[in-house]
Symmetry: C2
Subunit: 270 residues, 2 copies
């Protein structure tokens, strides 16, 4: 394929489930002319509590599937997958592959004045140390406070974000913040933007929340520009395709109810 | 193989993860001379929020794996898997296969005096209607109150069973019980026995909790007796083998920390 034709190819995004829709939404906003193919590996979700070998194997399969759909680049819209598999994916495939960690870490480093940043994530993401590494690569003098919040995803998916039990669990997880001069909290999981306001209310306005979905979309635009892969055909409506590995109706229902993301057409890919 | 040799073969148990250990423990107690091979499909857990087709496919693979280990019977120690796949498994394989639903339902029917039984389970189990069907087959005049409790599993696995947020969530899920003369609650998920005391305290002692792990072990003993497959070699120590599809160390850690189940040796089966 000619490089100029490649620009008309879609962007591929994958996640273990619906969470990556928060990333997709930001990409849709930042790059309104791009076609997107989204893959949610719902038959094997969640990734956050699984081991590195397993998650790496799943990610290889997911990227191979997106390549069949002729994507020009891939966004790993899952923090655990980025933490465990990004390097390996970049070694295995020749197209550009972006994760959700670097850009979020960079934004957090730009924001902090106290030099003390907290990272919230699933157990897998936190245990991988990927955010801690990315932050300390940007600035070795930072203090990083990593906090596993494994109940946030199920609470969000149950639509219980506003429930007092959720507030209680947020307070519990964030209790140790009191011991540090944290001024920046990095939301290291694609579901956590749905708890943005609850977390902000609990920690107070002196602390800035950085959401890696938004920062990642900015990186995607930069990358496409740099690689001259941007689709500048402003006169056609973009096409959005969705595929999942488990029941499409469940995905549609959860995506619309919890993420408010209209899902026209979801295909099954086993 | 001669039928008499078959009696020395192990019992196979599978679950999506660690939950089936509550069933295994009851089988170990009821049948202390039986070898057991346990398979936890941890690379693809949980099953409770996945679709029927997907769960059926996973279950076929799990039983095939146990057959390679020469098991003489299989216990489907997962309520969602029983609900979605038991009939299909029985059609596909010739060895005896037991699930965790029928025996629990039978015990609950024997217990109720008001004729009103509540069933707690994951969304998959409840939506399948399998308990409702099993209960109403036993007694068509019963009133069944099915309640999805999808947060119980993550709360238990986080070791937050004793946390006030968990109590709040239990109260929330069980609120609708007040509208019914329920005298029996069926715990339709292998994790829920770990919330036994919390639930009992909240609902009060007039309500009986029935745990399908215990009732299932009774059924296994009956079946082995009936099929003359019981291992009566009282003089040898039983062997317990564990296999998982994701990181064995994670399984070991969770099994020991949350379930208090000593796990000597866990193999990886991808």
């Amino acid at each position: 394929m000619h490089h100029s034709d490649l620009a008309f190819c879609p962007i591929g995004i994958f996640d273990s489930g619906v969470g990556g829709l928060t990333v997709m939404r930001q990409v849709m906003k930042a790059l309104p002319h791009e076609d997107i193919v989204y893959f949610g590996d719902t038959a094997r979700l969640p990734y956050g509590n699984k081991g590195q070998e397993t998650v790496m194997r799943y990610c290889l399969e997911n990227v191979s599937f997106l390549l069949e759909k002729k994507v020009k680049m891939v966004i790993v819209a899952c923090n655990t997958a980025t933490a465990f598999a990004l390097d390996h994916l970049r070694q295995s495939f020749s197209i550009p592959i972006l994760g959700v960690i670097e850009s979020g870490a960079q934004k957090a480093v730009e924001n902090t004045k106290t030099g003390c940043i907290a990272v919230l994530g699933t157990r897998g993401t936190i245990q991988s140390g990927a955010y801690q590494k990315a932050l300390q690569q940007a600035d070795p003098y930072l203090t990083v406070v990593p906090i596993s919040c494994p109940l946030f995803v199920p609470l969000v998916e149950e639509g219980m974000g506003e429930h007092p039990a959720t507030e209680m669990i947020i307070r519990e997880y964030l209790r140790e913040l009191r011991d540090y001069p944290v001024d920046t909290i990095l939301l290291g999981c694609t579901h956590y933007p749905l708890l943005y306001h609850q977390i902000q209310t609990i920690v107070g306005n002196e602390i800035t929340l950085v959401d890696s979905a938004t920062t990642c979309a900015g990186k995607v635009a930069e990358l496409l520009q740099y690689e001259t892969l941007m689709n500048n055909q402003g006169n056609s409506l973009p096409q959005y395709q969705y595929y999942v590995s488990d029941d499409p109706v469940k995905f549609q229902e959860l995506g619309e109810r919890v993420f408010g993301h209209y899902l026209e057409q979801v295909g099954l890919q086993v």
